[in-house]
């Protein structure tokens, strides 16, 4: 039994029926990703793979062959269509709440902003990268970046509520489990490391960001995102939860910060929502921004090489093909260490740590 979502002034409060819809989406996802997804593997082993072997005289060689064979299978089709529809229904049900709650949120936002200890710096001229503008990632209408009104914070408000539903509460009552994973691993690997300035890249509603305020109380915590409505929300959320963070609108591949201005740079499932050239540029930017001896630590979804079974790796691609997390397909086969070396890190100072059931953590230490 997961904990309920932690309540605070800037979180939307669903009405009775809105909540019923949202919790149904949560239950539906849980069932589809549990029994039904497990069933797709049974179907694969019992009929799809045997048919392929019979026709081709060999076993399948990679996850892409599995996908091509599974896509037309009736069991898998209904599974995929159901998961896709649930995702669409989830956003719709949350948007109902956010639209209804927006006047209250605006009032709260202004109050929190006026008495803020942290800061919010927006850049209205920032170019929204193609990987965000081309398609709305994980089907959130308008993505992270669409400003619908002055001081709009709807994208962040939608994301924070939907993230909890999407994760079926498994990211914790504050949806910050990834921040705990990363900061916990940093402390375990480097118990004497005491960063003074920390940067969280691609913070969205700032859930994981806030973990660093408590994990490193001596540090000044900064966070960036490309989406203004997410940053306004994250800023208000941090303030109402009494955490001091400096939020800024920036592209992680090209920020406004000075050289060597951070001791620790982190990201939580940022990579797969970017693009091929952006990934290289983000790592270069990390190298530029880190002080000598500083560290970058990036968490993302399991890569192909981290999956014990080819079928499991195929399942991790579902979101790419059905939920607009397009870059994941390429990313899951890339050599992170090589990318980091290209960006300027020394090979021996780069490692992949396994933080939880195959979720890789790229750790890169800048030469002192």
């Amino acid at each position: 039994m997961t904990e309920r979502q932690a309540q605070h002034d800037i979180l939307v409060k669903p009405s009775h029926d809105e909540r019923a819809r949202q919790e149904l989406c949560q239950a539906m996802r849980s069932h589809l990703l549990g029994d039904v997804q497990a069933g797709t593997e049974t179907i694969f082993e019992s009929r799809v793979h045997p048919a392929f072997k019979k026709e081709n005289g060999r076993a399948m060689k990679d996850r892409h062959e599995i996908r091509r064979a599974m896509t037309p299978d009736p069991f898998y089709r209904v599974f995929s269509a159901s998961l896709r529809s649930t995702q669409e229904l989830m956003w719709d049900s949350v948007i109902d709440t956010v639209e209804r709650e927006m006047p209250r949120l605006q009032t709260e936002y202004k109050k929190l902003h006026n008495q803020a200890k942290g800061t919010l710096t927006l850049d209205p001229d920032l170019d929204i990268p193609r990987y965000h503008a081309a398609a709305d990632i994980h089907l959130q209408p308008g993505g992270y970046h669409t400003d619908l009104a002055e001081d709009d914070l709807s994208a962040g408000a939608i994301f924070d509520r939907a993230l909890y539903i999407y994760g079926d509460g498994k990211f914790g009552p504050y949806s910050d489990a990834m921040g705990h994973m990363v900061s916990g691993q940093v402390k375990a690997l480097y118990p004497d490391f005491a960063p003074k300035r920390i940067l969280d890249m691609g913070c969205t509603s700032g859930n994981s960001t806030l973990v660093y305020v408590d994990a490193f109380p001596e540090a000044e915590v900064h966070a960036i995102d490309i989406g203004a409505p997410c940053l306004r929300y994250a800023h208000a959320r941090a303030e109402t939860l009494n955490k001091t963070v400096h939020f800024a609108q920036a592209n992680a591949a090209e920020t406004q910060y000075e050289d060597e201005s951070f001791d620790l740079i982190v990201s939580h499932i940022l990579f797969h929502e970017t693009g091929r050239s952006a990934l290289t540029n983000i790592m270069r930017e990390c190298h530029r921004l880190l002080k000598p001896g500083g560290m970058m630590v990036h968490l993302d979804i399991p890569q192909d090489r981290h999956c014990e079974k080819m079928y499991e790796s195929f399942l991790w691609d579902w979101e790419a093909y059905n939920n607009n997390e397009t870059f994941a397909v390429v990313l899951r086969s890339l050599d992170y260490e090589e990318e980091a070396v290209t960006a300027g890190f020394v090979r021996d100072d780069v490692s992949i740590e396994d933080v939880a059931v195959g979720w890789p953590l790229l750790v890169g230490k800048k030469a002192a």
Partner: protein, 118 residues
């Protein structure tokens, strides 16, 4: 944005939707089923809330609802309403059967257009 302003948020995500079934109409029918599943759950939750509110206020208990025995007249009314409900949902079968049973088979649409144009 000033205090109290409402906002209209887009409901459609950018990006082409995969087609899961041979006939795109099936994708739509499937989505409709999923949405109905959702709405039925909303109704069930709402009923659950009503029952619990009544219990908390001491009006009736959950056991009263679970142990509810309709009178003969209530039972008859309920059966009638349920039968009408089923018939309404299954009307497409009734329509097709009624067409098939006609002594004078229905004309094609184009034939009707021609007939009424005369």
């Amino acid at each position: 944005m000033t205090d109290g302003d409402s906002i209209s948020i887009p409901r459609n995500a950018k990006g082409k939707r995969p087609q899961y079934f041979e006939d795109p109409a099936s994708d739509k029918l499937h989505f409709m089923i999923m949405a109905l599943v959702e709405e039925l759950s909303v109704t069930r939750d709402r009923l659950d809330s009503v029952e619990r509110v009544l219990e908390r206020k001491g009006v009736s208990s959950l056991a009263d609802v679970d142990g509810f025995e309709p009178t003969d007249e209530e039972h008859r009314q309920r059966n009638e309403r349920r039968a009408a409900y089923v018939a309404r949902i299954m009307k497409c079968f009734a329509d097709e059967a009624a067409q098939a049973a006609r002594a004078d088979p229905a004309m094609d649409f184009d034939e009707v257009v021609e007939a009424v144009a005369e």
